[in-house]
Amino acid sequence: MLDLNELCARTGVTARTVRYYIQQGLLRSPGQTGPGAKYDGGHLARLLLIRRLQQEHLPLAEIRKRLQALDNSAVEQLLKQRPARSSAADYVRDVLSRSGKGVPSALAARASRSEPAPLDRSQWERIAISPDVELHIRRPLSRDDNRRVERLIEQARRLIAGEPGLD
């Protein structure tokens, strides 16, 4: 259960706007009003969905209509879905290939990737050994690998700096 401040912090919506949504019938009233008012997961989920639908520029009346038809689990489901429109990069690739134009190499490389899923993108970390030497690591690493990498970095730094290493 969240109080009003927490609800606002979690959703990025101001208290005034939350009250307005309740008044307009988009959100259930929390029962008890005033500082003791508590909001549950259902409130949170609905508020997040309202925010997203607002960002898609739906009018409040339409949002209210849609929300009334949904129970809490349906709201959660909708929140998990991603919007359907193509990305800017895909749109451009489409346009340029249709116009018979070659796609600049930096874009072409990405074209071979499957549909973008931001969470699946690998995170490469660049660790400077010296101003001109870097080590690239793809996270996440296993615990053992992490330990080995730490030692590697320590050694490499010493080596480049001209200090006596452990070899």
């Binding site: 990025g12 919506v13 706007t17 307005y20 925010r51 607002q54 960002q55 520029h57 739906l58 009018p59 409040l60 339409e62 429109r85 193509s86 990305s87 800017a88 990069a89 749109y91 451009v92 690739r93 346009v95 340029l96 116009s99 134009k101 796609v103 600049p104 190499s105 930096a106 874009l107 990405r110």
Partner: protein, 617 residues
């Protein structure tokens, strides 16, 4: 803050037009609130015609822009001629990245044709890939020429701008010199949700890029929109020439991004078809934006059908009428110049004449409307001559700025305890506004009113377009500008003696030239503006104060260090110090030292570029 007004509430039964004026202000960014990070894609034209000064200034501008970005921002550079090269993929900003970009920029060479479409689209794709839900994705296209390779159809490019805006990548455009197509660049920026800039010479490029990047870094509300719900008998149009479309049964007007604290005025034209007596048309107006900072409550307006005579008798809201008329004149110029450039002089003149007729009908004896009418009558002559690039582009840009920016006119109730900062070149708008925001708190504390306005309407649109002002031209401008307030006026043009600023004691005007700062890679134009504003503004508080009596030749990093070279000014701006002797003198003249010191600190903050850790690079 939102205020909605209309010109008249009564409608005749026959078809009629009404205007709705919406004044809104974006909230200030609270200290603790996270600012919107910027994902910036620079698209630079390196075709053969860019060789020399233009390319050099472009590189300076890009380097300066780079130094304004902060942790959390990212930047990429695409260059194009007949091929497109990704000079640098969009990279998160860091000292490291900055050095790599500066190095990459130095390798730029000009040559080839101009495949503007592919260059710009690639830049947008770069931004699209890298931007996040919380960032502002912005592509800035800089060109001096026409699209003469690849996709050249303007309508097609404009369609792409709309689609890209819908996918989170907005476009601003900057045209340099005589040849580019101002119609195309303006439309790309309009539908692209960004802003259009015109640099008449290479020297102006850095200031314009600084203005654009400064705005993009200061966004409080992305994708701001006005929504109008009305019956089928009403058609809605934006008089600011903002894109207006029907979506889900409502009219949606795109305002673009709003800066923190920005005051915006949007005027809508409502065309009503015929209706029956005593019928009421209900209009509901709402706002929205991607960051949820604009108020969501709807405002409603009702228009009642009455007899023609009754409708005629209703006294209109003059503020709404004047603003609408001002915008319509600006829009006329934008359209007419574009028509003239396309070779259709007849249509250009018809456009002006239609508007003149309308003004003559509605002006009555309203002084503001009469002034607008007379100005337009005077400017009509320009359209009877063939299109002259420099003059035409200048008029076009002035008119465009007029459409998009809040009315840049001075309030009429000024007195000697007011400091007015005026910009004479439209590209300086956001730079002067930023300087005023920085100085205002201390000005208020000292009981001084600080206002900013554009005085470009004083610069005759079809006049000379040299980069340098003669002594006579300066004198004429000073006469037009001077008023009861202490005035500091800023121009991008060069003074006749190439000095920074001239003080005219009789008219109490300081005339500052921001020309020639392009070589300084870490200078912030808003800091320069604020510095001169402070230096001369102090005159308001003490009649004995004169900066010349304070200036000292030895360098102390003090506000009153005498600087002969721009480099020295840059150093003192970043030092932000006032030396002890000067402090004593200020106190002896009755100044409140903490207030002056805080104002000077505010200037220093503007000057301080987070990425240049070494002073005087």
């Amino acid at each position: 803050m939102v205020r909605v007004r209309c010109d008249q509430r009564l409608l005749p039964t026959s078809p009629a037009t009404r205007r709705v004026r919406i004044d809104l202000q974006a909230p200030e960014l609270e200290q603790t609130a996270k600012r919107t990070p910027l994902c910036l894609g620079l698209v630079l034209d390196r075709s053969g015609s860019m060789e020399g000064d233009k390319l050099a200034m472009t590189l300076q501008a890009a380097t300066q822009a780079l130094r304004a970005l902060r942790h959390g921002d990212s930047i990429g550079v695409v260059t194009y001629a007949d091929d497109v090269k990704v000079l640098l993929p969009v990279t998160a900003v860091s000292r490291d990245a900055v050095e790599r970009i500066v190095g990459a920029l130095r390798t730029l060479r000009a040559g080839g044709w101009t495949d503007l479409g592919a260059g710009w689209l690639s830049g947008c794709a770069q931004v699209g890939e890298a931007t996040t839900d919380s960032a502002l994705g912005r592509c800035l296209l800089l060109t001096d020429g026409l699209a003469n390779r690849g996709i050249t159809d303007a309508d097609e490019l404009v369609r792409h701008a709309t689609e890209l805006r819908r996918r989170g990548v907005t476009t601003s455009t900057l045209g340099v010199g005589h040849d580019f197509d101002e119609g195309l660049l303006r439309r790309l920026a309009d539908t692209g949700g960004g802003h259009f800039y015109y640099a008449s010479s290479a020297a102006q490029i850095p200031a314009m890029v600084a203005a654009e990047v400064g705005e993009a870094l200061d966004v409080a509300a992305r994708e701001a929109r006005v929504w109008v719900r009305c019956g089928l008998k009403v058609q809605v149009r934006s008089l600011n020439d903002d894109p207006c479309t029907l979506e889900d049964g409502r009219f949606s007007i795109q305002l673009g991004s709003l800066r923190a604290g920005e005051l915006r005025t949007s005027v809508l034209e409502l065309r009503f078809t015929a209706g029956a007596l005593d019928e009421t048309e209900h209009i509901a107006i709402a706002l929205s934006d991607r960051d949820g900072v604009l108020p969501v409550q709807e405002s409603s307006l009702s228009f009642t059908r009455v007899t023609d005579a009754e409708a005629e008798r209703e006294a209109p809201d003059v503020e709404v009428l004047r603003e609408a008329a001002r915008l319509e004149v600006a829009e006329t110029h934008v359209r007419a110049v574009e028509l003239l450039r396309a070779g259709d002089q007849e249509a250009a003149l018809a456009c002006v004449d239609t508007h003149l007729d309308r003004l003559r009908r509605i002006a009555g004896d309203d002084p503001a409307l009469l002034v607008l009418m007379r100005e337009l009558e005077g400017e009509r002559a320009g359209y009877q001559q063939p299109y002259r690039s420099a003059a035409g582009k200048r008029l076009h840009f002035h008119a465009y700025e007029s459409l998009k920016r809040r009315p840049p006119f001075l309030p009429s109730d000024l007195d000697s305890r007011t400091i007015a900062l005026l910009w004479l070149d439209p590209g300086l708008t956001s730079v002067v506004v930023a300087a005023c925001r920085a100085l205002r708190p201390q000005a208020e504390r000292a009981g001084v009113r600080l206002v900013e306005a554009g005085a470009q309407h004083l610069v005759r649109a079809f006049g000379p377009d040299r980069d340098q002002l003669t002594r006579d031209e300066e004198r004429q401008m000073i006469e037009l500008i001077s008023g009861p307030a202490l005035t500091v006026a800023y121009t991008l043009r060069q003074h006749h003696d190439n000095w920074f600023s001239h003080w005219h004691p009789k008219q109490r005007v300081a005339f500052v030239s921001l020309h020639g700062w392009e070589g300084m890679t870490s200078i912030q134009y808003s800091a320069l503006v604020a510095y001169e504003g402070l230096l001369h503004g102090l005159r308001v508080l003490s009649p004995q104060y004169d900066p010349n009596l304070f200036f000292h030749r030895d360098t102390r990093g003090c506000l009153f260090d005498f600087c002969e070279r721009k480099k020295e000014i840059e150093i003192k701006l970043q030092a932000g110090h006032i030396c002890d002797p000067c402090c004593e003198r200020l106190t002896s003249l009755g100044f409140d030292l903490p207030t002056v010191a805080r104002a000077w600190s505010a200037v220093q903050e503007l000057a301080h570029s987070p990425l240049s850790h070494q002073p005087g690079i």
